[in-house]
């Protein structure tokens, strides 16, 4: 036929049907992670830093892992950290978890309106921060508070932000957990998903334009990779060979939506780099050593002007999406306990213990010290104020910083507001 008429008769045509992906398990059902293929630790090769992206496509499909089930660090990605550094990393993760627990409780007690926890994802942000140098800049989402903790940002200031009190650097203007610290390489968080991913690329382009040596790190979750900004970031990063590490935290869930709705499972999120000629790594996000080693590799590529690297961290969002969310409505209650990559804190603890650099006693002692430090910071923060009580920025400040210099109409409105 040449007139475009289908060769098969219309009688033979069947109605089309739309595909709606579903997770393997729902509430009431047994957790099922049989679709997550987990390579054994040490099995994934470590390419040369300047290997061509086309030659290392395999890295986007495995999972780089260093810690084996006995707590030993094995394979070509092991050895990027010394025991002191590992103990410090463990302390960062434990601090983040203790801080999260306190702030969730504070939200339940009505001391703030909202909180987002990092439970189960502590290794990703805490380990990655250690690959950056002073002056490098993260463009984080709302679930990388470990970047701040590992960079030495004071807990007190974090809490003041959550409480929107007079100690809040953002002057009570932002939702809790939307931190900002230029000094600590932590770009101001925005509620609009994925926007910072492409901004990170621009920051890295600027560093290259100025012949600087600093690099940028972009952050995004699995769900937000569906945003247009993700695509734009990859195009620009690849076109201009920007010195940026493009991090994807695949925690399997975007609020109630499983990663398959963002078309995870079609290859991997890491593999999306290949369409842009961007090399990609896929990493065990609950393995502090693997995150650090992969991060170092990607950062080194950026610093040597070899261009961007996409890194997918495979992890699991063990807690609710936020304090406004109840995950029992859409996933099995025991799912987090069945997550095959385990708990990042317990795994690093196991490793340090296995190499004789840590013990249960030291762990209990560290927990007590951290609890005390977090408690003291909370006391000090609450002495300044919580959302409902204490000292807050003056409403007068509501009109400041809209522009560098306050225009006449805002001066007028501030007067009308009584300030």
């Amino acid at each position: 036929m040449t007139d475009g008429t289908p060769t098969s008769g219309s009688r033979e045509r069947r109605p089309l049907s739309l595909t709606i992906p579903e997770p393997d398990a729902r509430p009431g059902g047994p957790p099922d992670f049989s679709h997550v293929a987990i390579p054994r630790a040490g099995a994934i090769r470590r390419p040369e830093i300047d290997e061509e992206p086309e030659a290392m496509r395999d890295l986007a499909f495995g999972i780089i892992r260093v810690l084996d089930r006995h707590g030993a660090a094995v394979g070509p990605w092991a050895g990027s950290l010394k025991p002191d550094e590992l103990r410090e990393g463990l302390r960062h993760m434990m601090t983040l978890r203790a801080y999260d627990a306190r702030m969730i409780l504070a939200q339940r007690q009505g001391k703030t309106s909202f909180y987002v926890q990092n439970l189960g994802e502590e290794a990703v942000s805490c380990a990655f921060q250690r690959v950056l140098a002073p002056g490098d800049m993260n463009f984080p989402t709302y679930r990388q508070a470990g970047l701040l903790i590992a960079a030495g940002y004071p807990l007190l200031k974090m809490m003041c932000q959550v409480y929107s009190n007079d100690g809040d650097a953002a002057r009570g203007r932002q939702l809790p957990v939307f931190y900002s610290s230029k000094e600590h390489g932590f770009f101001s968080i925005s509620g609009n998903l994925a926007t910072q991913y492409v901004q990170a690329v621009g920051w890295a382009m600027a560093s290259a334009i100025m012949r600087d040596t600093r690099i940028a790190a972009a952050w995004i979750g699995d769900g937000a990779t569906a945003e247009s900004d993700f695509h734009a970031a990859l195009v620009f990063a690849s076109t201009y060979k920007a010195p940026v590490v493009l991090n994807i935290v695949n925690n399997q869930w975007a609020i109630s939506t499983f990663q398959g709705i963002a078309r995870g499972g079609a290859g991997t999120f890491a593999a999306r780099g290949h369409g842009f000629g961007i090399p990609a790594l896929r990493v065990d996000g609950n393995d502090y050593l693997a995150v650090h080693a992969a991060g170092c590799w990607a950062a080194e590529r950026a610093r040597r002007n070899l261009g961007p690297t996409l890194v997918e961290y495979v992890t699991y969002r063990a807690g609710g999406h936020s304090t406004s969310d109840d995950p029992s409505g859409y996933r099995p209650k025991q799912e987090s306990e069945n997550w095959p990559l385990g708990d990042p804190i317990l795994r690093l603890k196991g490793h340090l213990t296995a190499i004789g650099e840590w013990s249960d006693e030291r762990h209990v002692q560290a927990e007590a010290e951290i609890a005390q430090a977090v408690g003291e910071a909370q006391k000090a923060a609450e002495a300044i104020g919580t959302l409902q009580n204490g000292r807050h920025p003056s409403p007068r400040e509501m009109f400041e910083d809209v522009y560098a210099e306050m225009p006449p109409h805002l001066i007028e409105q501030r007067r009308q507001a009584g300030y």
């Binding site: 900002s180 610290s181 926007t195 600027a206 734009a232 970031a233 910083d401 560098a404």
Partner: protein, 337 residues
């Protein structure tokens, strides 16, 4: 002094800004090697090199998003969206990010960024080469919005915008790129080279943001206009033989309220003209301000002449564009009212 088109004045502003400050970087679709589809960035790549002026992928959100990152780093990006009609993919970056960064970080991070975009109709551009989206920017706290009506202002406003610490949207009426246009589409085109408003100083200078210009002094009524409509208003005033005061707003945000209020209190009558659609257009804000500030001086209702509340048509260009006849009729109405 030299005679320049608006295109040459804009190109010249870029050149002077890039010469004076290595942080000024120019990016956009076709702005690099080719020099821009309207030639506003001609020769910049050759003179300053490809890392100072370069072509971008066709991604408005990518252009604005990366430019925000560059501004955060400390550069002074001046980027181009090829037509204002195509800024929508970047709207999230403009509204949610550029405009609010200083505020949400309490001044820790800032966004000294200029986004240029050709705007307006009168060129048979139809639905996607004619829009005037200024109200979508003036409604956003944290943005500044400018729109020149002549080459000298285009140069001075652009230099002021690049030096400004806040994000600035610069809307360039593309119908005015090569010469003034008073709406008489059936008459020969007047080039800037033969027009007195084509005079542009050679050196660097700024037209401060937030200052209107009185194009014609008068006592019978006040006409508030900007961009192409300044020339339409001047033509209509001449044709009606009335003693109108014509104010070219130049900056819509922040607005030069004192100049507007003083004029309307003097004349007692006010006509507002813009190409953009009427409903919730910038004219509504102007009318509300004049009503509030000049209530006891007004001798007639405030009138607005604007584009109809329809998408911009192709064949119906001159029935849509608010030309001198419609503006003239509105002048009579305000004087009789």
């Amino acid at each position: 002094m030299a005679r320049m088109t608006m295109i040459e004045a804009i190109q010249n502003a870029h050149e002077l800004a890039m010469e004076a400050d290595e942080r000024v970087v120019v990016m956009g679709q076709d702005v690099g090697f080719f020099g821009g589809v309207f030639r506003c960035t001609a020769g910049l790549q050759k003179r300053f090199g490809p890392t100072r002026c370069f072509d971008a992928p066709i991604s408005e959100l990518g252009i604005v998003g990366t430019a925000i990152g560059m501004a955060v780093y400390g550069l002074r990006p001046c980027v181009e969206i090829q037509f204002a009609d195509y800024m929508y993919p970047a709207y999230d970056q403009i509204v949610s990010e550029a405009a609010r960064l200083r505020y949400r970080s309490a001044g820790e991070f800032t966004c000294p960024l200029v986004i240029r975009m050709p705007t307006g109709g009168g060129i048979y551009g139809a639905q996607t080469h004619s829009q005037s989206p200024e109200a979508l920017f003036t409604h956003v706290a944290g943005l500044k919005t400018v729109i020149p009506s002549n080459p000298a202002d285009a140069k001075g406003l652009l230099l002021a915008a690049i030096a400004d610490p806040d994000p600035v949207i610069m809307l360039e009426p593309k119908r005015l790129y090569n010469g003034p246009f008073d709406g008489h589409h059936d008459r020969p085109v007047v080039p800037w080279k033969t027009h007195e408003m084509g005079e542009v100083p050679d050196e660097a200078y700024t037209v401060p943001l937030g200052q209107a210009a009185i194009r014609r002094e008068g006592s019978a009524l006040t006409i508030l206009a900007y961009g192409t409509m300044v020339h339409v208003a001047l033509a209509a005033v001449a044709e009606q033989g009335v003693d109108a005061e014509v104010i070219d707003l130049r900056t819509l945000m922040p607005l030069d309220k004192p100049t507007i209020v003083a004029s309307v209190r003097k004349t007692g009558r006010c006509l507002i003209v813009h190409e953009a659609t009427l409903t919730c257009g910038f004219g509504a804000e102007l009318a509300a301000i004049v009503q509030r500030e000049c209530f006891y001086h007004l001798e007639a209702p405030i009138e607005r002449v604007a584009g109809w509340d329809t998408p911009y048509p192709h064949a119906g260009e001159w029935d849509y564009f608010p030309g001198p006849d419609r503006v003239g009729a509105a002048i009579r109405s305000v004087l009789e009212g």
